[in-house]
């Protein structure tokens, strides 16, 4: 039972969100090789502890969020918009 403090909507239950995936992946450009894409898509670390991941506030503001979550305790350390420009706006408004 995770509670996520959405920067736009406030603290909400995780059932409003959908899990995305690893937020640290740098997706290669579209014309990159099969090898580069294979690594970006299929190779994942199995982290024990805090990891950065994307979540979509599907039943809320529809923003994609970058969340630092512990895979052991589900503790959430930070929640930010994925989009860098929006991240700046949120930080400036703090």
């Amino acid at each position: 039972m995770i509670r996520i403090n959405c920067p736009y909507c406030g603290e909400r239950d995780h059932s409003e969100f959908s899990y995305g995936g690893d937020a640290t992946i740098k997706y290669p450009s579209l014309d990159s090789s099969e090898k580069e894409w294979t690594e970006a898509i299929f190779f994942r670390k199995n982290i024990k502890g805090f990891q950065l991941e994307t979540w979509h506030h599907t039943n809320g503001c529809r923003m994609w969020l970058k969340i630092e979550r512990s895979t052991v305790t589900h503790e959430i350390r930070s929640v930010k918009p994925c989009h860098p420009d929006l991240q700046k706006v949120v930080e400036n408004n703090k």
Binding site: M1, A23, E34, H56, T58, L86
Partner: protein
């Protein structure tokens, strides 16, 4: 066992008589009774038959750990099996009966199983059913199926009603600072302390009254305390069990709202499933008294010591006349005094020799004595006892009740749900809760405190711990040391007596004996988790609350280890059973999932549509005339579309507005085919791939203006595509200036298809010139007005292969649009058509939908290689060229005819080579239909190597589900008008 109701004892309301039936006979009880106390008061000793051996069983306890008195309560659609009589409150008119016996628990024909024990020893099922042949078509499962019927029948513990559940259930949520589980002395103290410090507190109690163990005290009155704590603003929830602890301080509660009433109030749910989000959890769940394993330790009349005290002081029932208490600890002496004061003849066998105890000397204490066998069958006649465990000098005591206390097990279950392993305490012979970093504090006897003052002190300490951890205070506190008895407990788990073949029970409810544990050890199942599964120890619905520790100690003995080295099994939620009804709450029947309807839903129904579910949507399936069947109807509809014109509601398609200066670039990246050169006023069919090169979805995008597109997606993938586009724009291509908005609900859409579709539309638009062949060519898009000045978007798009248009209006105008189109379609001998006809038309054309694009299919597999641009890169363009997706054995889209055109086939049919009909074959049929155009059944699907490899070979369609086989001819998937001349007309 001779029981009696005593005048001056108990907290029952003697002015409030209740009548109830047990096995069809009428009895009386009082308000405040449980079913168990009322049965005892009526001197009913045998209340059930055991699981495997059908041995007569009585009432072992007075609480949730009960493993003997499992009964069926209620009748007809409210028949509930496996109810613990010890927690079922008595109500007027309650109907209950014994289980697992025929004709009744007193005379059970299957009692013979007791003498056939060797067939039921642990591992019987595993040994008997090993080596069942592997599952293959049509064979192999028969052996299991044959035995299953008998096993299920023999093993049943009561049976649930097969009628629909007449009751409703609710899901509810609440928040608080501190939730306190358990209203014993420690829980009350904690709740008061926290509430006095201004915290928002919820106090949960599984019993109908608060007080916990104090309800077994003669003087205790729970109403005083209840008033006091309610005045402090504490929310008190009785009849509510905290069945599980979850991440981040979430507690799952089951509130039994009307289980204590005969006819529930219709405005109330039967049970409420609560999700409580707390900041801190305090658990004072108490401790559970253990029994002792020895021969025939299950004869009705055996009970835990504290249960007997509870029946006396809470219900005024003295559970025996001549009582032997067998124990290894100090906790039993208070009960011994109480029972003898109440008039029973009491003897205490204490396995210890050196201990000091002060008593009122109204009963005899036999130091160093242990029980080793009970004589009797449906009631206790006498008890064989011995000085010391190696049964030498034995002696027999006549008695009608044997009370057991092998020590106490703190209820560490809830903490165990959080993955916190308990630690073994040698001094107190029990598992104690370990510390946790989570905001959970264990108090009272669930942290191994045996006396009341220590419990109260631990409650205050627990609340202080909560305040400190929440950053509200910084106060020193300490918890009393575990224990609290004057003399140490001396472990006593089993008294072994080999000279008789009688059974000595470890787990009453699953009939697991000491010998079963030894057998498991001999056969190598020595890990606790294996032991548990092999013998089913602790897997009954009491989850081993009484028997687990005894099982562990036996295994530890066999392995020459200590209990903590053998380990402990992990407790998982729920602490006590939770009904399926409570889990589903209101999400049943029509409310099982949300219902989506199109704005012209009622219009469709009014015009005769039969509806079908597509994902969450209700869509028109077919529009039967008079006595038409589904197939009559869809064949007529499809034929009409090809001959004149048909109208079909396509509103459920996903619709997305794509706006902004980089919209063209965006579409060019997400679709496999080129979009950068699409002109304003044109639409294009596009395919989206996933990152890994597999097809995600298909649809059309219409360029409405330089920087504005209108995208349609399939019905099923609409939500996924929307999230995907948002993800790309917010996480990957953050410099693209594009905005996406779901407009699925805003636009109502209809497809008008057939050679006369333009004629129909001509009469519906204000300016018919905008839709002529020049102004609106194939794949053309226009924004114009329907008659009545209704703004609309029209695209000349065809899914059926006929001349066809898709028309969209704002949802509010949907019915007006339908009236207008239908009026003019009728004039042209047109029809309304549903999904079944739509399917027939598209299968004839070999168009793929969700049935084909199932997440495993590539663009090449679907025969759409032309849709993959070689001039640009797009999502999936690198990965779709992976070796595995390009190998020659990929299953490729083809069409199917039955070799004998009179035959039919079904979707799901497995395609095989003639002499190799097995396994997954070489392909599958995904969609089938009767083709009105061709006059026989056709299908599309996939075959390894595709049409080129098989066009001259007859293959076999195997349909093991329907036990059917037919020969198939492989053809091009484009079965009607392959050149597409009609839609360009």
């Amino acid at each position: 066992m001779k029981t009696s109701r005593l005048k001056n004892y108990g907290k029952i309301n003697r002015d409030n008589d209740l009548s109830f039936t047990w096995d069809n006979k009428k009895y009386k009880g009082f308000k405040g009774d449980t079913l168990a106390s009322a049965l005892l008061a009526n001197n009913i000793g045998v209340v059930g038959r055991s699981f495997k051996y059908h041995r007569p069983r009585g009432i072992f306890s007075s609480g949730v750990e009960e493993s003997g008195a499992l009964v069926t309560v209620g009748s007809k659609d409210r028949r509930d099996p496996n109810v613990r009589a010890t927690t079922q409150e008595l109500y007027d008119g309650l109907k209950a009966s014994g289980q697992n016996a025929f004709p009744n628990v007193n005379f059970d024909l299957a009692g013979i199983n007791n003498y056939l024990g060797r067939f039921f020893a642990s591992g019987f099922y595993y040994k008997t059913f090993m080596g069942i042949p592997p599952f293959e078509w049509g064979k192999g499962t028969a052996i299991w199926m044959f035995f299953e019927k008998f096993i299920r029948k023999a093993a049943g513990m009561g049976s649930a009603s097969t009628l629909p559940d007449p009751d409703s259930y609710e899901h509810a949520h609440d928040f608080c600072d501190v939730i306190v589980v358990g209203s014993g002395p420690s829980g009350i103290a904690a709740a008061i302390e926290a509430a006095e410090k201004k915290l928002d507190v919820i106090l949960v109690e599984q019993d109908s009254l608060i007080g916990g163990d104090q309800l077994s005290e003669y003087e205790f009155d729970s109403s005083h305390i209840e008033n006091q704590i309610k005045n402090l603003g504490i929310k008190v929830m009785t009849r509510t069990t905290a069945f599980g602890l979850y991440d981040n301080c979430v507690v799952g509660l089951l509130e039994r709202v009307t289980d204590h009433l005969l006819l529930p109030d219709k405005t109330l749910p039967r049970q409420r499933f609560w999700t409580i989000r707390a900041k801190h959890i305090i658990v004072g769940a108490g401790a559970i008294e253990r029994h002792i394993a020895f021969n025939n330790n299950d004869i009705p009349g055996v009970m835990t010591v504290n249960a007997s005290k509870h029946y006396l002081n809470r219900y005024g029932v003295l559970t025996g006349k001549k009582i032997v208490i067998t124990a290894n600890n100090d906790s039993v002496y208070e009960t011994a005094e109480l029972l003898s004061e109440a008039g029973a003849n009491v003897t205490v066998l204490d396995s210890r020799t050196n201990f000091e105890i002060e008593t009122n000397k109204t009963f005899e204490i036999r130091r160093g004595y242990v029980p080793y066998n009970i004589n009797g069958s449906k009631k206790i006649d006498s008890l064989d006892i011995s000085k010391s465990k190696n049964i030498s000098k034995s002696e027999t005591i006549n008695c009608d009740q044997v009370l057991l206390s092998g020590g106490w097990s703190p209820a560490v279950h809830l903490l165990s749900h959080r993955g916190v392993k308990p630690k073994w305490d040698y001094e107190n012979a029990c598992f104690l809760p370990s510390d946790t970093k989570e905001n959970i504090t264990m108090i009272g006897s669930s942290r191994g405190l045996w006396n009341k003052n220590d419990c109260i002190a631990s409650g205050v300490a627990g609340a202080t711990d909560a305040l400190n951890r929440l950053g509200i205070s910084k106060t020193n506190y300490f918890f009393p040391k575990p224990g609290g008895w004057k003399n140490p407990i001396k472990p006593l788990y089993e008294v072994k007596y080999n000279k008789s073949r009688s059974k000595s029970f470890v787990d009453y409810q699953h009939d697991v004996t000491s010998d079963d544990v030894r057998l498991a050890h001999r056969e190598g199942f020595i890990s606790v988790e294996h032991l548990k599964r092999y013998t089913t120890l602790g897997m009954a619905n009491d989850q081993g609350k009484m028997g687990n520790i005894i099982g562990l100690s036996l295994m530890a003995d066999l392995l020459n280890k200590e209990i903590p080295e053998v380990g402990t099994t992990v407790f998982r939620p729920p602490y006590t059973p939770v009904s399926i009804g409570a889990l589903s709450g209101r999400n049943v029947g029509k409310h099982f999932r949300p219902l989506r309807v199109t704005p012209m839903h009622q219009w469709n129904i009014d015009h005769g549509a039969k509806m079908i579910e597509v994902g969450l949507y209700q869509r028109p399936w077919y529009y039967p005339k008079e006595n038409e069947t589904l197939s009559n109807s869809y064949i007529r509809e499809a034929t009409t579309v090809r001959k004149t014109v048909g109208i079909c509601d396509v509103t459920s398609l996903g619709k997305i507005a794509i706006q902004g200066p980089d919209s063209s670039e965006f579409l060019n990246r997400i679709y496999s085919n080129g979009f950068s050169k699409l002109k304003v006023g044109k639409a294009r069919y596009g395919i989206m791939l996933r990152d890994d090169g597999i097809v995600m979805d298909d649809g059309t995008s219409w360029r409405l203006a330089e920087n504005e597109y209108f995208m349609t997606t399939s019905t099923g993938e609409a939500a996924k595509v929307m999230s995907w586009l948002e993800e790309l724009l917010q996480t990957r291509w953050t410099n693209l200036n594009v905005n996406v908005t779901s407009v699925s609900e805003q636009w109502a859409g209809v497809s008008i298809a057939g050679p006369k579709s333009r004629e129909v539309l001509n009469n519906c638009v204000i300016d018919s010139s905008v839709i002529n062949n020049n102004n609106l060519p194939f794949m053309g898009v226009t924004s114009t007005f329907l008659k009545g000045k209704i703004p609309c978007r029209i695209a000349r798009i065809s899914f059926s292969g006929e001349l066809a248009f898709e028309v969209y209006v704002k949802s509010d105008f949907s019915n007006t649009m339908m009236d207008l189109l239908w009026e003019n379609a009728k004039k042209n001998d047109g029809c309304l058509y549903g999904l079944e006809a739509l399917g027939a038309l598209r299968v004839e054309k070999g168009h793929v939908t969700a049935a084909e694009l199932d997440g495993r299919v590539t663009i090449d597999d679907a025969g759409l290689s032309k849709m993959a641009s070689s001039k640009k890169s797009y999502i999936g363009s690198a990965m779709r060229k992976r070796g595995v997706l390009k190998n020659n054995d990929r299953e490729i889209l083809v069409g199917f005819f039955p070799a004998n055109l009179k035959e039919t086939f079904n979707a799901g049919t497995i395609v095989c080579e003639k002499h190799n009909i097995k396994g997954q074959g070489i392909g599958r049929i995904t969609s089938v239909t009767y083709s009105p155009e061709l006059g026989h059944w056709i299908g599309i699907g996939f075959v390894k190597g595709g049409l080129d490899r098989w066009k001259d070979t007859i293959l076999v369609g195997a349909d093991p589900v329907r036990n059917k086989q037919m020969n198939l001819k492989i053809v091009s998937p484009h079965m009607v008008d392959p050149k597409g001349e009609r839609m360009h007309a």
